[in-house]
């Protein structure tokens, strides 16, 4: 009887214990990126940009060239790298505090210039690394350490919908939102990330995939509840859809 490997660790994913909390979405999304780096054979030309946040050490897990960036500045760092090395495959991995709060100017302008790199935007509606503070995407009523009674729209504003905001710009090529809500969502997320990778490889310009993702610890739920929360509550406010994609993307 012959044995066939049905599943193996992607080559671009290092054999390391991840330090992410149980039920966190980062590990799943890292794996999808690694699978796609393998699929497109990009290890020898990929350069990743890590944010400040839980995924700052993404380079401990992804076996490609990597740079840290200051908090929120990943789009500027990615711009510098991609302009300096147009043949490299450049991707930035950013969380909601990093991208939608302190780095809002950088992401809008990188998108507006149509920079030909790929952003993977993880929206779990909370700051993780610093201990569960309110994020720009925290839902109204959601409790966090800096809004202990829940986000009050009257004084704290409403959660920011990044895809919708960027969709007002002329230059971006692909803008899409997806979610980690079980195997189907993971597969759909991978499909959209594949399109975003192709976008860059075909020189079509700025691509961003927002992934609604569970953070059980700071959502104050168990992992199963956090997945349900993403599926039922996050996606109700942040609609899962493709906002735009290049006509010819395959």
């Amino acid at each position: 009887m012959t044995e066939t490997a049905l599943y193996t660790r992607p080559k671009s994913l290092l054999d390391m214990d991840m330090f992410y909390c149980p039920g966190c979405g980062h590990g799943i999304i890292h794996k999808l990126i690694a699978e796609l780096l393998d699929e497109f054979d990009l290890r020898s030309r990929a350069i990743g940009v890590a944010p400040v946040g839980c995924s700052v050490t993404a380079y401990d897990y992804l076996d490609v060239d990597f740079s840290e960036s200051a908090h929120g500045r990943a789009p500027a760092v990615a711009t510098g790298i991609k302009r300096a090395r147009p043949d490299a495959f450049v991707f930035a991995y950013q969380g909601d505090g990093d991208l939608a709060s302190i780095g809002m100017a950088e992401i809008i302008h990188a998108a507006n210039r149509g920079e030909n790199y790929t952003t993977i935007f993880i929206n779990n509606t909370v700051y993780g690394m610093t201990g569960g503070q309110m994020a720009p995407t925290t839902l109204v009523g959601q409790r966090a350490s800096t809004c202990p009674n829940g986000r009050d729209a009257a004084t704290m504003g409403y959660p920011i919908r990044i895809c919708e905001l960027l969709d007002t710009l002329m230059a971006p090529s692909l803008i899409a939102r997806t979610m980690i809500d079980g195997p189907a969502g993971v597969r759909k997320t991978k499909q959209l990330l594949r399109k975003a990778f192709q976008c860059q490889l075909q020189g079509k310009g700025f691509s961003l995939v927002e992934v609604l993702s569970p953070c059980p610890v700071y959502m104050r739920m168990d992992p199963r509840e956090a997945i349900e929360h993403v599926k039922n509550n996050l996606s109700a406010y942040f609609p899962v859809k493709v906002f735009r994609e290049p006509a010819a993307a395959e």
Binding site: E68, K82, A88
Partner: protein
């Protein structure tokens, strides 16, 4: 024969950077350095090199960080308020040991201040305007020629030590025009095996300043300090004027040094024994060079376009051995040659032997 042209300090610096092999320029508008950005906007694309007008000084310095991480010669330029915004990025460049050139064509502050020349960013440039224990090499040009030459030197030093380098100029030197001999030698930046190029047939490279585990950050810092000690031992640069045998030593840099040059000429005609030491590197500072004259020199006069910043480093170098006097103007004021000459006379009148 090398080409000689009449040009402004800002444009001379830009052309020097281009001739030094600057691959990528990122900038944001601010007076009095706009000629530099404009020059790059015209010439970098023509040479198939990178020019990006960033959305802010913060973005510009982080684009420099990205391009430097990718192994390219990268620079940005700005003026005081804009350079304040770049401090976070400079700290990250230092922490990640990325070579880059940052130009500060200083204007008067604090706050929005105004566009007149100033030397009030000395503390920020030399004492670490960003967070953490780091050092940045700081070059202080006093002519349009040095604006040009220091662009080449700056890139070389940055690459040699994998460290950010700042050219600390001011609005007067940036705006004025002088003849310049253009640099025309080939440039050969060193190999950068640490750079992000894609991990082809090698382990992946990581550009980082985050070390969270087991004392690694202290090890990293100690290594940085060893590098800074090496730079301090090898890269001090200064020039002297009429200093041999002088009883009064003027210490000044940049625009102030030009004024002092004129004042010293007049004072010597009056029979006052005065000369000048002009730091060309503000960090590393010519501490020993200053101290080496103190057996003979009986008084030191520091002249700055500030309320007195470099004078603190001069006092440390002098260490109480002779009186250190200061004259400066603030808020965009520039002392005249007569002002400095007057001060030299006052110092001489306090009992310095001729």
């Amino acid at each position: 024969m090398p080409k000689r042209v009449l040009t402004s300090g800002n444009e001379a610096l830009a052309e020097g950077a281009i001739r030094a092999g600057c691959d990528c320029y990122f900038g944001y508008p601010i007076t009095p350095q706009n000629e530099l950005t404009t020059y790059m906007a015209v010439h970098m694309p023509r040479l198939k090199r990178v020019f990006v007008q960033a959305e802010s000084e913060v973005a510009a310095i982080n684009m420099v960080y990205g391009a430097a991480a990718a192994g390219k010669r990268a620079m940005t330029s700005s003026s005081s308020p804009g350079v304040s915004l770049k401090q976070e990025g400079i700290s990250y460049l230092a922490g990640a040991e990325l070579p880059a050139l940052i130009v500060n064509v200083q204007r008067a502050g604090p706050g929005l201040g105004s566009i007149e020349p100033s030397q009030a960013d000395y503390f920020q440039a030399t004492k670490g305007g960003g967070h953490g224990d780091y050092r940045m090499i700081v070059l202080a040009p006093n002519s349009v020629q040095e604006m040009h030459d220091f662009a080449v030197l700056g890139f070389d030093l940055a690459d040699r030590y994998r460290n950010p380098v700042m050219i600390l100029s001011d609005g007067q030197i940036g705006q004025m025009m002088e003849p310049v001999v253009l640099y025309d030698k080939p440039v050969c930046p060193p190999d950068k095996p640490w750079a992000l190029t894609g991990a082809k047939d090698r382990p992946h490279n990581i550009i980082r300043s985050y070390f969270s585990r087991g004392g690694l950050l202290e090890v990293h810092n100690k290594r940085l300090q060893e590098k800074y000690a090496k730079i301090a031992g090898s890269e001090v640069r200064y020039e002297t004027l009429e200093l041999a045998g002088a009883s009064i030593m003027v210490v000044a840099y940049g625009t102030s040094a030009r004024i002092c040059g004129g004042a010293i000429k007049l004072a010597r005609r009056q029979g006052i024994s005065v000369g000048m030491l002009r730091p060309q590197t503000l960090w590393p500072f010519p501490t020993q060079a200053i101290a080496s004259h103190l057996d003979r020199v009986q008084a030191v006069l520091v002249v700055e376009l500030s309320a007195g910043q470099m004078v603190e480093d001069v006092r440390l170098a002098v260490n109480g051995r002779v009186p250190v006097h200061f004259v400066g103007r603030v808020g965009g004021g520039v002392p005249s040659i007569a002002d400095v000459q007057q001060k030299i006379q006052e110092v001489a009148a306090k009992g310095v032997r001729p």
